[in-house]
Amino acid sequence: MEIRKIAVFGGGVMGAGIAQDAAAHGLEVVLVDRVEEGLAFARKAIEDSLNRELQRWGITGSEKKIILSHIKFTLNPDDVGSADVVIEAIPDDLAAKQDLFAQLEQQFERVCPDSVIYVSNTAVLPITDIALKMIHKDRLVGMHFLAPVPSIKLVEMVRSVHTSEATVDRAKELARRLDKTPVDVLENPGYITARLVVPLINEAIDLYQEGTASKEDIDAAMRLGFGFNKGPFALADQIGLDVVLGWCDNLFHELGGRKYRPQAVVRHLVRKGNLGVKTGKGFYDYSASDGNGEAKK
């Protein structure tokens, strides 16, 4: 059976991104959030993103309408009906995720018992722990999408100790349907992406703070010198400094190396609400940019 319909729980940046990308690839999507503000945020995020793509000639006005028509926004989980894949994209809180999957399993086992799989979009939590309260633990797999979901062609496929091959295959089918390359990774903290990028960002901050080079020059050196799409500061802004901070905290806690220790400057920027591209300000100022993540020069 081809994957046709997915349910996404959680209308934050990741949930909205996954919903948009799936709809753009012709899937039917139901996006569920607990509160009206969550749905409003998701709807606006998707519309803004599609408008940017329209301005950049990537889609047409009618394609935008079609994509939006593929997404149903709702507060009521029962509106989902059946689904081929159920994805969770709520904040990284272990207890909340455990409870959510226990509930979702009850709900979907009734309507689509045979083929449904469950996906967590966690960036840091062990999938085995998230599956704790589930009955069919083999049906849960981690798919770590990166933001902005529509333009990043990677998904980290994270197995728990219970995840079945059939579940992984099904999740990979979804990844390929979204034109993404799945990479396999064990559920060790940070997987591949966060584990490698956190020390890079931390070291870049050290370089900058000790006065070795400016942020702009550090970014330019990594872009031009090593073919990075973005240098470490621009990258941190794009990921979101709150997310980076979360990754640092988790990796430092789990693995203990100094290289993962959250930097004071990141904590400070997060406290001020300067989270990067999404708030218009982070290491760089984006307030006058085209909304495409290009800093004001």
Binding site: E2, R4, G26, E28, E53, R56, W57, G58, I59, T60, E63, S151
Partner: protein, 399 residues
Amino acid sequence: MKVLVLNCGSSSVKYRLYNDDEQLAEGLLEKIGTGEAQLNHTVTGRKKEVSVHEILEHRTGIELILKTLVGADKGVLKSIDDIQAVGHRVVHGAEAFSQSTLITPEVVAKIEECIDIAPLHNPPNLAGIYAISELLPKVPQVAVFDTAFHQTMPERAYMYAIPYVFYTQYHIRKYGFHGISHQYVSREAASLLGKPLEDLRIITCHLGNGSSVTAVDHGRSVDSSMGFTPLEGLPMGTRSGDIDPAVPLYIMGKEELNLQQINALLNKHSGVLGISGISNDFRTVEEEASKGDRRAALALEVFCYRLKKYIGSYIAAMNGADAVVFTGGVGENSDIVREMATRDMEFLGLELDREKNRTKKRGEASEISAPSSRVKILVVPTNEELLIARDTRRIVTAG
């Protein structure tokens, strides 16, 4: 012989049922993949019937079409076994197919190989073939290719001047499209002129939302304006057509566009829509131009000027021409386009009869050139499905 003709798109199936050349029914199933797929079914001589169904894939869609064709109320067949052959429109046959072909497992495998260069079109065409193989396993099927007619193009016409390795490695060359239409209207034109096709040099202009021009030299396509993809050639509703290849590279650099964005820019935001900023529909653009919209007028001028240059260049390629044929939605219905594209071409032998051009009846084949015109100018309605039905009949009968 009763032949079902299928034209499967990514989310639609067009079909026509013929008994020899007589059309019994036609229809269009749209929005496949949704719970609200819409079937428009018309029995010849009766009113169109519209119904909505949950159709998630081509196979169930085609099953619905077959059921409708034998249904008690809207049906035209006593039994599904009355269908003696099925003809499929297949977009890309690459270099593997130079004519319509009886479908065998080997043929299916070759069409599957062509997916690489026609990723949007061949998969739904194949879905139709798989569905019929399952639903009507004993019925012979024929593939009629959009590219096959152009396989007679000489090397000098189809080779791009880039390193030869790209031809051998990725099969990058001009293929040409709309072949079924160009072939059909060139035959019809010959019969309208009362001469054998083999004695004529004809330039066929298929003008619609997608447009192409073909040089048909004694019945064989020797050049066509579309290329490796349908993006080359004339400007179209939303496609740029011919362009300095440095332009997209320059824009990509300036605007930091990725491949998908530049691809959409050239395919979906350009052409008549891109210049006019109004519409990809020629009727709307003509209307706005007549009201004085400068960019709408410019879009038409660019389109017609480029068309005129293609006609001129194909006259050169064939050392003359006996007829220029207009077909397709725009070619058949826009007297303005026909007039602008053939204006001031007396030197090359084209003289339009402006009155005949303006008063030409819809849906009829007719000559619109002046009696003194050395090159005849014709309007011939296209009918790709009929050609598919005829080819299918011929191949299955010869079988």
